[in-house]
């Protein structure tokens, strides 16, 4: 690989899932409903229907544009991309092209890959509508129009990635951005993210900045998982290197291939020559709309704190370790859970420890999201308060955490007086005195230098109290009493 340098660009499609309705119709933006129920006449292309722009979708698209450091246009307008396909009921997709400019042009993204900061340039980002979804059976196909008209953001990058790993790290970063900004759930399992990938290789000895040195671009359409993107890229790099090595690379035409997850390979679809002419032109039913400075500033001011910012804050304000902060921000829901714990008054380091170890661990074990987890931050606070008030030991705290979770009962129901910690000095002194009286020989050995027998005495106290003795007070009294003897 050192002989060659791969140049990789991405087209990342991500549905905006956080609007109530679709991008050009008033149908619900939720295609997981029963098939063909989240549908208005426009979504099925009925004659006489007209698009009406969803302002919230535009707002979120502009927010994404700002986060990517892209330039926003003076006017919002849309274009038609014309082609025939059963999942496209109008016979065209309302989208944005480069001329006039879309919601964002230019820009860059900084992301982390294997602990190293990388930067990719953004070509543009545009707002468009999703198509219907098709299901194919042996002799028939079905069309579900629930997805038709769902708002979709297409982010196009420059070919700045050099490996499948970088592309995947970028996609993970962008997923986090979309989630933290409240633009999308960005759930690949629901098909909310789809990618087109382009790959070419060039001789590593040549100047990368000069496009003349770049190789022939191969595009791969509709790769639907991040792992798929990485594997498709790595496969394609190997395939192209092989062509270089056996001297046939220059004969390879510019082409579109398909990533096949079954055979784990890319399969030839069509050459660039056969590419469709989409006959773009301005959508006449949507008058161009001037973006006011005030609105743009309002949107900019409303950008929520993203993952990196939160991480920085956790490290600087809460003095969490880089590692813990990293674990907390990986999922927005986890970060939100943690922040809620802190807001309720749980000490940040304690909260971080509980969330990263117990809460996330248990969620993973149960295969549920943290939002579905029975122990809410409020319940966790009950347990923390129990410890603080000396009602329970840290060992008991963990027991109650799991018990509460298992029995779906509030933690405080397990914190009765019966199993409260024994912190009463009189009571403990009485107990310790009788234990020491019964173990005279051990005291002798202790006095003669076998100091680790101290733990033996603590153990005896715990044994007699079934672990409920307050360990700090127990140690204090033991030290005093042993010194007396």
């Amino acid at each position: 690989m050192t002989k060659y340098l791969a140049k990789i660009g991405l087209e990342m499609h991500c549905e905006i899932s956080k609007t109530k309705s679709k991008v050009f119709s008033s149908a619900k933006n939720d295609y997981n409903d029963a098939p063909n129920t989240s549908v208005r006449p426009l979504d099925m292309g009925f004659p006489g229907t007209l698009p009406v722009v969803n302002k919230e979708a535009v707002r979120l698209a502009l927010m994404a544009s700002m986060i990517l450091h892209s330039k926003q246009p003076e006017y919002i307008w849309f274009e038609r991309k014309n082609y025939y396909y059963p999942d496209l009921p109008k016979g065209y997709q309302i989208t944005q092209d480069n001329n006039p400019i879309p919601v964002g042009i230019g820009g860059y993204v900084e992301y982390e890959c294997h602990g190293e900061m990388k930067k990719v340039r953004v070509t543009n980002i545009h707002l468009e509508e999703d198509s219907a979804s098709l299901d194919h059976y042996d002799t028939t196909s079905t069309i579900n129009y629930n997805r038709s008209g769902v708002p979709l953001l297409e982010l196009v990058t420059e070919p700045d990635f050099h490996s499948g790993e970088e592309a995947m790290a970028f996609l993970e970063h962008m997923r986090s951005v979309y989630q933290y900004a409240g633009i999308s759930d960005a759930d690949t399992k629901k098909g909310q993210i789809r990618c087109d990938v382009n790959v070419s290789i060039m001789d590593a000895s040549l100047d990368e900045a000069n496009p003349e040195n770049w190789g022939t671009k191969v595009e791969m359409k509709n790769v639907n998982s991040f792992g798929g993107v990485r594997d498709a890229i790595n496969y394609e790099i190997e395939r192209q290197i092989e062509l270089k090595e056996n001297g046939t690379y220059d004969e390879m035409p510019q082409q579109t291939r398909r990533w096949d997850e079954e055979t784990y390979s890319t399969i030839y679809m069509r050459s660039k020559v056969d590419a469709l002419d989409y006959k773009y032109f301005v959508e006449p039913n949507i008058p161009k709309y001037k973006l006011t400075k005030e609105w743009l500033e309002e949107i900019r001011a409303s950008i929520p704190k993203l993952a990196m910012e939160r991480k920085q804050e956790y490290i600087e304000n809460y003095h969490l370790s880089e590692y813990d902060a990293g674990v907390l921000i990986k999922e927005k829901s986890v970060s939100n859970y943690f922040e809620e714990c802190v807001r309720l008054g749980i000490e940040a380091k304690v909260a971080a420890n509980w969330v990263t170890v117990n809460v996330v661990g248990e969620c993973n074990k149960l295969e549920i999201s943290i939002d579905e987890f029975y122990i809410t931050p409020e319940y966790l606070k009950q347990i923390m308060d129990g410890m603080k008030e000396g009602l329970i030991s840290s060992k008991q705290a963990k027991e109650i955490f799991y018990k509460s979770c298992e029995e779906k009962k509030e933690p405080k129901t397990f914190m009765s007086k019966d199993n409260a910690q024994i912190s009463d000095r009189e009571e403990l002194l009485h107990l310790i005195t009788s234990i020491l009286d019964e173990n005279v020989s051990q005291i002798e050995q202790y006095k003669n230098g076998k100091t680790n027998l101290f733990d033996f005495f603590v153990g005896q106290v715990m044994k007699h109290t079934r672990g409920k003795a307050n360990p700090v007070i127990t140690k204090e009294i033991l030290t005093e009493e042993l010194n007396k003897r």
């Binding site: 099925m44 009925f46 004659p47 006489g48 109008k90 016979g91 065209y92």
Partner: protein, 485 residues
Amino acid sequence: MLEKDILSIHDALVRGEVTSEELVREAIKRSHEVEESCNAFVTILDDQKGGEVTDNLLSGIPYGLKDNYSTKGILSTGSSNTLKDYVPFFSATSVLNLERAGAVLVNKTAMDEFGMGGTGTTCHTGVVTNPWDHTRMTAGSSAGSAAAVASGVYPYATGSDTGDSIRKPAAYCGIVGYKPTYGMISRYGLFAFASSLDHCGVLTRSVRDAAIVADEMKGIDPNDMTSWDSSYMHLKEACDKDLGKKKVCYIKEICDITRYPNATEELKSHLENFRKTIDKFKELGYQVDEVNINEKLLAAVPSVYVIISCAEATSNMSNLTGIVFGPRGEGENYIEMMKDHRTKGFSSLIKRRFVIGSYVLQKENQERYFRNAQRVRRLIVDEYKKLFESYDAVVLPVGSGPAKKLEGSTDILDDSTQILEEHLQIGNFGGFPSITIPDGFVNDLPVGINITCNCYEDELMFSIASKLEGTMNYKGQIAKEARHD
């Protein structure tokens, strides 16, 4: 009674001289007669009942809708085989507005397929003939509406106008045809032909009737982003007002007989008649000026129209695939099925226009044809806007004479008189309010004059049209061959 104007019919209804039920029965009976003589309808609503009579001038009075208006539960074909059995589940906004006024629909009128034609000969139900002379055409595309109103089936029918589809058939049938400023009447539910040029409008037998109907049809619509709030406009009242600078102009390059060395007798009479009408303006105290417009720009009008309308049409009608609605095509795969549906469904005229539309939108042609056409459209509109700085209106003769013979007619127009035939398209380029009223006879056949004003000057236009109408004897005329007594 149905031959009278709306105010007279309304008074008779209010006074109880006639009932709505009687009017509806009469209108249905006449519909069948006019269907027999002119082939004017796609659907006659034989079971329609009379409506309630209220204060609304349209209440209880029968009317017709062009068949490209979507009507809930009523066949709406756009006079195309692709939609020959299509029964929509929603009504156009303007239709709902008329319903709310209490208007009673009695039929759906035949039209050139999807409005793409100017002859009334390309309806899937056959040729519509002119009630004044059945060997002649009505012009189109609002052919059935023009024939029905001129025959006295009812006082008004709706039309749609993309090039001159209301205003030319109105002239050929001796009635009034009005297309308002773009966006005054919502296009939601009107089958799209060329979205940037499409207008809803109305055909009547008097200027005031056109104002009364448009007052009810218009209004801002949340389903049409190009619609605007015209609630401050009262068109009926404007008919009695004295508005504007009292200055109108006509364009020498269009009206001057010396520009047509091979003029037919019909053309000579028509232009002569136009000059007489101009004199009427002078009698009314208007200053009338002859103005000049760059001949090259005028000569470009038909090409600009063809390029833009065909481009938008080919995209707009891509929803007609037979997959969601319309007869399902046959074939092994979706491409064959769509092809089969469209091959069988569309007339050859439309197919030709689709080819033109696709051609001018292709990547390699788009700049040269489509984008240039958009630029020239702007230049032409600017010329008219300049005229509107000094003049209330541009007045011009409609067409090159009376209705043409059906025999030997083609959709291809005689080059020498092309600008006379096509200048009304400028009203669509600019979205200008434009009205045609009858201004005399040539060879016992009606001819018309057109008045076009600046955008949002519909009230001014009605005040001028109403005054001019008052100087002539053609208000309320019924086609002679079809006269009922």
